[in-house]
């Protein structure tokens, strides 16, 4: 199936959401480390 611009946009959006979610996971990990250390 050809990949249309619509699919490209959807993929870019999904990747952006994935990046935000992984970023939040990393962020909460480091916040926990900092809070436990203080």
């Amino acid at each position: 199936m050809p990949v249309s611009d619509m699919h490209k946009r959807r993929r870019a959006r999904n990747l952006a959401i994935a990046a935000v979610l992984f970023g939040l996971v990393a962020l909460f990990f480091f916040i926990t480390i900092i809070k436990m250390g203080s």
């Binding site: 619509m6 946009r9 959807r10 870019a12 952006a16 962020l27 480091f30 900092i34």
Partner: protein, 305 residues
């Protein structure tokens, strides 16, 4: 390709438009965000005490995301008037690139997320101030004031003036006179900045039915008000130096910027026209960046970098 053809190209099977990541970023009003982030960062940097660098960065990200969320909620509520104004007609909702419902959800998720993260990672005072800022901008400015009174941006300016207070609270966990002076500077800066914009975009605001001062009271009254606010802003801008929490570097820069601001306002008053209004509008942005950059430079110099 025509706009209609582009829209069809990006529609999914159910006919819904597939918004790009860029469309969602546009909802966050990135240009407004840059000024908010910068003033918030300066509030954080000049505050006494220390904050873990990562927690400081999180505080700034929360301020940025909270400001963006306010922008998205503003675009959700104001889509009807945005569509009528040339300056805002190309925003994602009036263009049909994002539905109003999606913008509302996006804004709410980011609002709740940024306030929650600020509370968990930084402190509850900063989180409370961020929540108040978002609520004030959306509920008081956007929903109540904007369409009802020419004092809309005067009172609504309080929301845009709070970021340095939030930055300060993120470090100290408390409030003090210093961040409130920074609040007052931005609060006093907002009306001349937006009234200058209103002067050369008067037709836009009139068409959309937004009661900006140039629309309700005419350009002459607006120019006088701009001059009065500029005369109040100039000494207020010097206050951090006079009150002793900024040094001579800041004092010199703030005096010069204040004099230039008043000169622009006087020029607009005696030689009215779009060019003078645009010139003051452009300078007002430079003024605010200059004032806060000088405050930051001063704090870094006095702190031995």
């Amino acid at each position: 390709m025509s706009e209609a053809a582009i829209r069809n190209e990006y529609r999914s099977e159910d006919g819904a438009y597939e918004a790009s990541v860029g469309d969602y970023i546009a909802l966050l009003k990135p240009r407004v965000m840059s000024l908010v982030v910068f003033t918030g960062l300066v509030g954080l940097m000049v505050a006494p005490g220390a904050i873990h660098p990562l927690l400081g960065a999180i505080a700034i990200v929360c301020i940025a995301v909270g400001a963006g969320a306010s922008g998205a909620l503003n675009m959700w509520y104001d889509a009807d008037i945005d569509a009528k104004m040339a300056r805002t007609a190309k925003r994602p909702i009036p263009m049909g690139r994002i539905s109003a419902e999606n913008a509302l959800s996006f804004g709410m998720v980011l609002s709740i997320g940024s306030v929650t993260l600020m509370g968990l990672a930084v402190n509850y005072l900063a989180a409370g101030l961020l929540a108040f800022t978002i609520a004030f901008y959306v509920l008081v400015y956007t929903m109540v004031l904007k369409r009802r009174t020419p004092q809309n941006i005067v009172i609504g300016g309080a929301a845009g003036a709070l970021p340095p207070v939030i930055g300060w609270a993120a470090v100290t966990g408390s409030l003090a006179i210093e961040p409130l002076v920074l609040f007052a500077i931005i609060f006093m800066w907002t009306p001349p900045h937006f009234w200058a914009l209103g002067l050369f975009r008067e037709g836009d605001y009139a068409a959309a039915g937004v009661p900006m001062l140039p629309v309700t009271h005419g350009p002459k009254v607006t120019r006088t008000n701009i001059l009065v606010y500029s005369l109040l802003l100039a000494p207020l801008g010097v206050a951090p130096w006079l009150m002793g929490f900024a040094g001579v570097v800041y004092g010199t820069v703030s005096v010069l910027l204040g004099v230039f601001f008043v000169c622009h306002a006087v020029r607009l008053a005696v030689r009215p026209g779009d060019q003078a209004a645009k010139s003051l509008f452009g300078f007002s942005i430079l003024y605010l960046f200059g004032i806060f950059a000088a405050l930051l430079a001063d704090a870094l110099i006095r702190g031995g970098l």
